[in-house]
C-alpha cells in the first residue's frame, strides 16, 4: 500500500526531452513536485520571474547554450533558497575540482537507475 510522503520540489533540466520526462516521472513516483525544462536559457527566464524554492536541482552537465555548471552559477541568484544540486553527466570524465568546490553538488553518471536516483534524493518511491 502507498503511504503519504512529505512532498519535495525539484527542478529537472536536461536538453534531451525524453531524459527530462523519465526523470520527472521518477520524481513524481517518489511524491515530488517537478519543474521540468529542456532549455537552460528558458529555465533561467522562468526562474527570474518566479524566484522559487527547491529541495533539489537535477541538471545535465552537457547542454548547448549553457553547460550545467554555468547554469547553476547563473541560476542561483534567482532561486530563493540553497537547494541540493545533482549534476547528471554522460561524459566519462568530470573534473574533480568542480565537485570539491561545492559541497552541495553531487554527481550522477548516466545511465542512472531509479534506485540510484532514489538513494541520492533520499526519498522512497510513493508505493513503498
Amino acid at each position: 500500500m502507498s503511504k503519504k510522503l512529505p512532498s519535495f520540489t525539484t527542478l529537472v533540466l536536461d536538453d534531451d526531452e525524453e531524459v527530462v520526462e523519465e526523470v520527472a516521472e521518477t520524481i513524481a513516483l517518489m511524491g515530488g513536485q517537478v519543474d521540468a525544462f529542456s532549455n537552460p536559457v528558458k529555465c533561467i527566464e522562468y526562474l527570474k520571474t518566479r524566484r522559487r524554492s527547491y529541495n533539489v536541482l537535477i541538471v545535465d552537465l552537457s547542454m548547448p547554450l549553457l553547460n550545467g555548471l554555468d547554469f547553476l552559477k547563473l541560476a542561483s541568484p534567482y532561486i530563493a533558497n540553497s537547494p541540493r544540486q545533482i549534476l547528471m553527466t554522460g561524459l566519462a570524465e568530470l573534473e574533480g575540482k568542480h565537485v570539491e568546490s561545492n559541497s552541495m553538488l553531487t554527481v550522477l553518471h548516466k545511465p542512472i537507475s531509479i534506485s540510484e536516483l532514489r538513494e541520492k534524493l533520499g526519498h522512497p518511491l510513493r508505493f513503498e
Partner: protein, 419 residues
Amino acid sequence: MGKFARISETYLKNRKPPPNSLNPNFREDRVIGDWLYRFAQAVENEEQNKQQAQQKFSLLLAQVLTPVFATDSAGKIKVWNPALQGLTGYSEDEVLGKAISDFIKQSSDSFVANDAQQAAEMLFDLTTKSGKTVPLVISELGTEKGETVHVLTSTEKVDPAGSTSYFIAQNVGSLKQAQAKLLHASRLAALGEMASSFAHELNQPLNVIALAAGGVAERVKFGEVPKEYLIAKAERIEAQALRAGRVIQGIRNFVLEIGDEDIVEFDPVVKTKSASDLIQEQLRLANVMVHINAPSGEIKIKGRPILFEQAMVNLLVNAKQAMERQALSERKVSITFSVHDTVLTILVKDTGPGIAQENFERIFEPFFSTKKDNGGSGIGLYMTKSVIKELDGTIRAVNEIHGACFEIKFPTAPAATES
C-alpha cells in the same frame, strides 16, 4: 674557375700569335704557358669532381630501396636500379636500351597522364618478368635543362640534345597502405577529440532506457498498470535502444579500415551532410550551426567518398575549435557549393577570429596545431590537403571580415550540375 677560363679564352682568341711556338724566354709566353697549365688542371679537377659525383649518384641508385629508372628523350631506358629489378624481375642488362613503353601497361585510372597531357606525377602499371603487373606512381626526379619528358609513348621524337630524365617510382599498393594508415590515424585523432561527445550521445538513450524500464518495474510491482502505459514505455525503450545502436554504428563506421576504398563518382554534398551528421552531437554541444548551401541538382566528382567525408569532418572540427572563444550565438559554419564550367568550388567559412598571419604558411603542415594544449593533433588540415590533392583538387585558406574561409576546388565528373 669560370672567370679565369673566360679571361684566358678571350686572351688566346684576340692575341697575336707569336711567329713560332711558345718561347719560354719571352715573359709573355711564359705567362701564357702558366695560364694554360692552370686551365688544364682546373678542367681536370672539374672532370674528377664530375666523375666522383656520377659515381656517388650511381652508388646511391644502387643502394636506395626506392625504384628509380632513367630514360633518354626517346624513352629508351638508360638506368634501371636494383630496387626496380627487385620489383619487376628484370635486370638492368635486360632492359637497357629498350623502350620504357614496352614494359608499361597504362592504368585505367583517369587521372593517369596520357599522351596529350604532361604531368608531374604519372600512374601506370608496369609488367613484371613473370607477367604480373605492378601499379606505380611515377614522379620525375629531374631532367637536364628542366624539361619535362614524356616517357609513356613510343612515338616520342628523339631530342637532339640527348637529355636524360630520371624517374622515381613508388608502388601504389604501399603508397595506398601508407595513405590508409595516415587516414586511419587522422580518424582516430578525430575520434579522440570526439570521445566525450560519443559517450554523452550513447549515455543519453541508455539513461532513458534505464529509467523507463525501472519505472515500469516499480509500477508493476506495486499495482495494476494500464496497458497503454506499458506499450508506450516499451516503444520508448525500443526507440532508445535503436538510437544507441545508431551511435555505436556511427563510431564503428568512423574507425573502419578504408584503405581499399574504390575510386567512384559521388555527390560531395551528400558526403558533406554525412560528415556533419557524424559530428552532429559535438557541434550541437558546442552550439555550432552548420548551413550547407548547394545547387538544386546533383553534383558529381570522382574519388574516394570516405576520404572526402573525412576531409570535411576535419574542416568542421577545425572550424568548431576556431570558434571556441566566440559568443555562442555567433558560432556558425557555412559550406557553399557552386559549379562553373567543370570546376566545383566549395567554400567552408567560419565566424572565428581568422588565421593569424604568421600561421598561413604552416597550417597545412603535418603536426602543426595552434590548439595542441586543447587536444589538437595537427593532422587534420594536413590530411585534408592530402585528400583533396588526391582527388585532383586544391585548397587554400583566406581570412574574411568575419572569420576564416577554406576554398576548395575540384574538377567535376561529366554532367555535373551548373549552379
